[in-house]
Symmetry: C2
Subunit: 85 residues, 2 copies
């Protein structure tokens, strides 16, 4: 068993209205950032988990995403798994 | 002028209590994920912006982080800038 770290980035699928991103973009425009074209806001989750292999750590992370972290209807995820605590 | 995309990952500094992460970890333990050691929850922001160069895009993104996105007292940020819409 070794310790792995999984980095999960969760974003809204393209086409899903990102009201939080639009609010941030609007604030930034008001603050003078005229060259800003778009803002999309998502979530980021870091997991530390024990697993026998990189593949097992990845499978466990995908399962955790399915069970709790990600709403597949409107969100998509990117997962990166690295070795080490 | 070209369009750049900036990816900003914002996490709580080490040592700052991550109550949201602890809540997620507790839920996952209750769901049977006993090998999970730690969860840290952060934010993720994607920006699309016009700039004359990669450096200008990075500088603008850092300025946006300072002005609105990141609370430097308790949070840290990682920025990646790439070319393209």
């Amino acid at each position: 068993m070794a310790v792995y770290r999984a980095f999960v980035t969760i974003t809204l699928k393209k086409g899903v209205l990102d009201s939080q991103g639009k609010a941030v973009a609007s604030s930034l425009h008001d603050m003078g950032y005229g060259k800003l074209e778009e803002v999309r806001v998502g979530r980021y989750v870091e997991l530390a988990l024990e697993a026998a292999s990189h593949d097992e750590a990845l499978t466990m992370t995908e399962s955790i995403c399915d069970d709790l972290l990600v709403n597949d209807l409107i969100e998509e995820r990117r997962i990166e798994v690295v070795t080490g605590p």
